[in-house]
Structures are given as structure tokens and as C-alpha cells.
Amino acid sequence: MTSYLESSARMRVNALLDANTFTEFLPPSKRVTSPHLAVLNTPVSFDDGVVIGEGKLRGKSVMIASQEGAFMGGAVGEVHGAKLVGLLKRAAQDRAYAVLLLLETGGVRLHEANAGLIAVSEVMRALLDSRAAGIPVVVLIGGSNGCFGGMGIVARCANAIVMSEEGRLAMSGPEVIETANGVEEFDSRDRALVWRTTGGKHRYLQGDCDKVVSDDINAFRNAAVDAIETCYKVQISLTLSALLDEQQMLEQRISQFGTETEPLNIWARLGVPDPAAVSMMEAESFMQMATTATRPTRSAS
């Protein structure tokens, strides 16, 4: 077992794909680094914090991107964003079997905020282009920095999301909310609360994530394979009916749970027998338990 959480972006790619099949685009030796950091006295990274390329997953050609959470929190700058856009376009161009996005990011890189913001929207457009071209996009989230900001939106534009319980998916980080509206609004130091609000298990029970796996790269690999196969069986591109279903699911979420203030209550109302016990469950038993809950089924949105 190799911990996904503890692995670097580069190790994740190599361990996730079939052995020795990865070919990197714009590798570190090309030194395509951010032109905006030097003036701010900030070190660059030779891959600008994202590893992209192609390789095989169970013998099928896939495109893969992996954000390095340790470099600037995985934040998206101009080059970083352009690499993601380029990869998604390349997937359509080469008719890849699927795109895997290993996201670990705080969102827009503030050092190059305008470029980053535009880049995130370009990534979103390119991702949806890929889907429109019939190429499924699967997002994996299991790094210690989670997937936040605009990239949290991007993740939910993908066909499927696989998370570990250590992974987090949200928009504004708890620290940002605490700073804006006080510790009573969101105590960012209460990490148990942070995780049950943004972590993999909550997102799964809520219907925003398709599978929770243990913190093991191989578990992510298997889940990614399954997720891609499911996409091909159901629907890859956006459809009106799927989005109408999603509209309904999201409306229902607000009407059912909009007045709740504690995720545990939501879990209870979803039919989880012992919500307090959920946090300690291992991924497999959690997934088994969750089959008894009345979790909203995700449309192919």
C-alpha cells in the first residue's frame, strides 16, 4: 500500500498508471516556469506545480494531470493553468480514452491572481469541451491540501469524483470563512468539523462524489478504472435532462438540509444509522454502510 496523501504529485502519476507508461509533457527539464514569481521574490518550480502527460491505465491511453500541493498549495497560475488546458485539449485532439485530474489545490494563485482566475475558467471550458468530445474526465482528490476555490468548481464539472476521506472538496477554505465572518461562523481549528463539512465521506453521502476509497494509490487507481467504465456506460457529455436532474437534486438539498447546521444531522436524516461512528470507519466499511443510506444518486451531469 502506498499512501496517496504522502506521495508527491509525480509519484502519484507513476504509481497510478501502468508501470513505465507515463510520458510527461513539458517536463521539468523544459523549465517552463512561471514568469510572474521572480518579481515577487518567490521561487519557481520547474513544472510550475503540475505534472501532465499521457500514459496507460489498464492498457488504455489516458491523459493525466497531477497538481503538487506542496508547491504554493497547488495553486493555479498562468503556466499551471495553461498546462491543464493544454492537456484537456490534447485529450480531445488525440482521442484519449479518458482524462484523469489528480487535483490538490487551494484555487487561484494569488501571486498571479488575474491570470489564475481566467485560467481556472479556461480549464473549466476545456474540461467541458473534453466531455463534449466524448472523453470522460475523472477527478481524484486525496491530497492534504484538498481541492478548493475555483478548482472545487472545476472538479464538479467532471464526470466523476473519487475521494479519500482525507481529501476535501469545497470552495472557500475554513480559514477564509473564519477570517471573513468570525470563529463562530466556522472554527477552522476544529479539524473534525472541517472534515465532516468538506471531507470525502460528507461529499459522498451528499452525492457530490462517486466513491470514497482508502488512502492508497492502488485504491484510487481501481476506482478510476471503474469510474471511467461507468462513464462510458452512462453518458459522457452534458445533456439537458441530466442537468435538470441535477437542478432538482440541488434544489432538494437546500429544501431538505438548508436549515441544518451540523453535517452529522444531515447524515442521520440520510439514513446513516450511527453518524458519530462514521468518521472512524474505514473506506470499505463506510461504502458498505452507505448503501443503506438514502444517498441522492448523481445524475450524469
Binding site: N20, D129, R156, M171, F186, L250
Partner: protein, 242 residues
């Protein structure tokens, strides 16, 4: 400019736009043709409800009015910074809005964004930035974050950021900077109705912002990086042989 004055100028041929809890919706007439209008006002914080309401209008248009253009009027302080929104999965609501706009585009609806007051970070990504083309009024504020907060988070001295902001479009707030980087198609100085009509006519479904950013000298890397990847051969990339 308040939304009433704005829409009066944008739609001299009339509109049915109303405001409900900072959410704007209705239709307007452009060159004799009906367009769907959605948007926000009062520097609305985009929470789950407002994101969903906008998506609903978009999907309604797609469902019932094929090819009817959609105009997004942007005035937002960004996503709502509340525990409840995060617990409910606000990113899913934002994504839903983004996907709805994307579907509309693919089904032949032209989508125009207009930042008439302010556009901040998360509130902008799935509105104006998901349009075919986004425009701004000259006084519009567009930014991810103000410089003082940026200085705190990046630990770069504020004075340094302020000095760099004079010449560097990459992080400093301002519609002009977004124009240079390709995020804004143009700034509408006057004659909004004509500009809007022209924008709808000229809109296309390809994302051309990387090209604009390069042509205008604001984002020099994006297009080149994308093109290198698209053209990447074994010479540019690196085949792992081990």
C-alpha cells in the same frame, strides 16, 4: 450604475427584468429579438440559492426558447463566505451554473457577460467568465482579492505589490488588466445597446481568451504553453524508458 439605469440603457426597446433578493431575471429586447437576462446586483454574495436560481433560468431558456441569447449582468462580491454554503456544497451549485451555461452554448445560445459594477473571484468564474465573451463598463471593478489581503496571504510586502501593480496586469485589480489578459473582450465606454447587439452577433463558442491575452500582451505564456502541448512530440516531451 444601478441595474435599473443599466438595463434602461442596454434595452431601449424594453425589458421585463425584476430583482428578487439581489437576483436579476427576465428578458430584454435587442434588435427586436428577445434575450434572456440573468444577473445579480447590490454586490450580491453568490450563495447556493442565487447560483441555483441563475442555473434554473438558463435551463428554462434552453428548454423552452431554443437559441435565445443569454445576457449575464455581473455585480458580485464573490461567493458567499458561509459555513452553510460550504456544508451544502456551494462548489456543486457553482459548477451546476457553469455546466448549464456550457450546455446552452453548445445548443446554440449565444452568451454575453457584462460586468457593470464589480466582479470578484468565485462569483465571476461561473458567470461572466463562462460567457462566450465578457465585457465590462469602464468603472467596473474586477479582482480576486484586494492588495492588502493579498499581501497578508502571499507574505509579499504590500508596498511592493502596490508598486508592481502600476505596471503589472497579472495580479492587480482592474477591468483594464483583465482586458489585457484576455479575460474581458472589451470595455464598453458608451452606447451599450449597440455594443450588446454587436456582441451577440459576433459571439462564437470557441474560447479565444488565450489568443487575446497574447495579442494584447497581458498573458504571454498561456497560448504558447497550450500549443506546445498540442504539438508535443517525443522531442518536446520525454518518454520514460525505465
Amino acid at each position: 450604475m444601478n441595474w435599473q439605469a443599466l438595463t434602461a440603457e442596454l434595452f431601449p426597446q424594453g425589458h421585463t427584468i425584476t430583482e428578487r433578493e439581489l437576483f436579476l431575471s427576465g428578458t430584454g429586447t435587442v434588435d427586436g429579438k428577445i434575450v434572456t437576462v440573468i444577473g445579480t446586483t447590490g454586490h450580491a454574495a453568490i450563495g447556493v440559492e442565487i447560483a441555483l436560481a441563475q442555473a434554473k433560468s438558463v435551463l428554462h431558456t434552453v428548454q423552452h426558447f431554443p437559441a435565445r441569447p443569454i445576457v449575464i449582468l455581473v455585480d458580485t462580491q464573490g461567493q458567499r463566505l458561509r459555513f452553510r454554503d460550504e456544508m451544502l456544497g456551494i462548489n456543486s451549485y457553482m459548477a451546476h451554473l457553469g455546466k448549464s451555461l456550457d450546455l446552452a452554448r453548445r445548443l446554440g445560445h449565444r452568451i454575453i457577460g457584462l460586468v457593470y459594477d464589480q466582479a470578484l473571484s468565485g462569483g465571476f468564474i461561473t458567470s461572466g467568465l463562462m460567457a462566450d465573451a465578457c465585457y465590462a463598463l469602464p468603472d467596473a471593478t474586477i479582482r480576486v482579492m484586494g492588495l492588502p489581503a493579498m499581501a497578508r496571504i502571499t507574505k509579499v510586502p504590500e508596498a511592493m505589490l502596490t508598486a508592481l501593480a502600476e505596471t503589472n496586469p497579472v495580479f492587480a485589480p482592474g477591468a483594464e488588466n483583465y482586458l489585457r489578459m484576455g479575460g474581458i473582450e472589451a470595455i464598453w465606454e458608451h452606447d451599450l445597446a449597440t455594443n450588446l447587439a454587436r456582441a451577440i452577433d459576433g459571439a462564437g463558442d470557441a474560447d479565444r481568451r488565450a489568443e487575446s491575452g497574447l495579442a494584447r500582451g497581458g498573458r504571454m505564456m498561456t497560448k504558447r504553453v497550450i500549443e506546445t502541448i498540442l504539438g508535443a512530440t517525443a522531442a518536446d516531451s520525454h518518454v520514460c524508458t525505465t
